[in-house]
Amino acid sequence: MEALQQIWQGSGLYQVTGDQIVMLGVCLGLLYLGIVRQFEPLLLIPIGFGGLLSNIPGAEIATGDGLLHLAYVVGIETGAFPLVIFMGVGALTDFGPLLANPRTLFLGAAAQFGIFATLLGALGLTELGLMNFSVREAAAIGIIGGADGPTAIYVAGQLAPDLLGAIAVAAYSYMALVPLIQPPIMKALTTEAERRTQMVQLREVAKAERILFPLLLILLVAMLLPSAAPLIGMLAFGNLMRECGVVERLSDTTQNALINIVTIFLGLAVGSKLQAEEFLVPSTLGILILGMIAFAIGTASGVLMGKLLNRLSSQPINPLIGAAGVSAVPMAARVVNKVGLDANPQNILLMHAMGPNVAGVIGSAVAAGIMIMFTS
């Protein structure tokens, strides 16, 4: 009888709290979004399942010696997982379109306005007494507007580990929601004629340019903004392995086995931050709302900068490609392409949008460096 009682008291049915039930539902929702709606499945499935495991009452998978907590300590507290993912992103990124048209870096710069506006918004909510975010936390929340998962996780791990779960979920969810969030904003800010603008074909980029670009990038960061060096450095290293042409085996492994392994454990480790007691707090709601606003503002600033560039430039620039400046690679570029095609069936913007798209990755890593420098 005592043994049966022990089983009963050890069971989830006995121990579970209402909050945990809510979180199990939320995690099943993330899995639904990943599997059925195919929203960023590579991250939402590990995060969702990790969250499921973390809310099993009494299992202690996400605390103490549990595997997910170990993954968090080893990979996220140290910053290693997001940095390795960034190396993989570098190995997977073709900077060719950016090199063919470097001015698109302005679009990647403008779209970072979402980051800083959201930082301000988070501090404003605190001033109004609605939320209670420190400057470090506000900075980490703002980075959601960078639309770049590993950057957001890296910054949150450094500046606001308590908010990491909500920030990561917001970042990946909104990146997945780009096809829903961006088009209305893009259409509201452009005229039909602007959306119809066709752009001249991109020039070819020499192999030497591709090899020198990551070196140039890291040297500039070294001289001007060393606090962005870890993120930009790993991105540049991955890209150099890709482009230099003499270490294909390292580049292949980085693009496949290595990034996949780290993605799995990064996702599970992020999931360990979805425990009910940490996640079901008012600030999570604030983060989700602020993150959405960050995305919207970033998109708008990108498009407006696109309009400005179009006026100033001798060659036509379709302002839609500014929306790709938030990053969310390659989803945002595809959305731009689709909205452009809707206005003009001859208008293939995909490659033109890849320039601001990868510029957005650099832009938000630079913004992350600024945040880290000023708040730590």
Binding site: L99, L119, E127, A206, L216, L220, A359, I370, M371, F374
Partner: protein, 66 residues
């Protein structure tokens, strides 16, 4: 705190723009130098015009042989 946020926003956006502007200048300069040092790109695909020209030349050559 709002003040700190405003400063951060101004300085932050400023730094992002300054950094990326310098990157544009440096990248453009680098590309220019690379292109000057390697005058003829040798491994690109032929353009449609060139394909047409080559095809025509081959056709004429064959006609002359027969």
């Amino acid at each position: 705190m709002i003040d700190q946020g405003l400063t951060l926003m101004l300085v932050g956006m400023g730094t992002v723009f300054v950094f990326l502007t310098i990157l544009i200048v440096a990248t453009s300069a680098m590309s220019e130098i690379v292109r000057r040092m390697t005058p003829a790109p040798i491994d690109r695909d032929p353009t449609a015009d060139e394909v047409a020209a080559i095809t025509a030349a081959i056709a004429q050559h064959r006609r002359q042989r027969t």
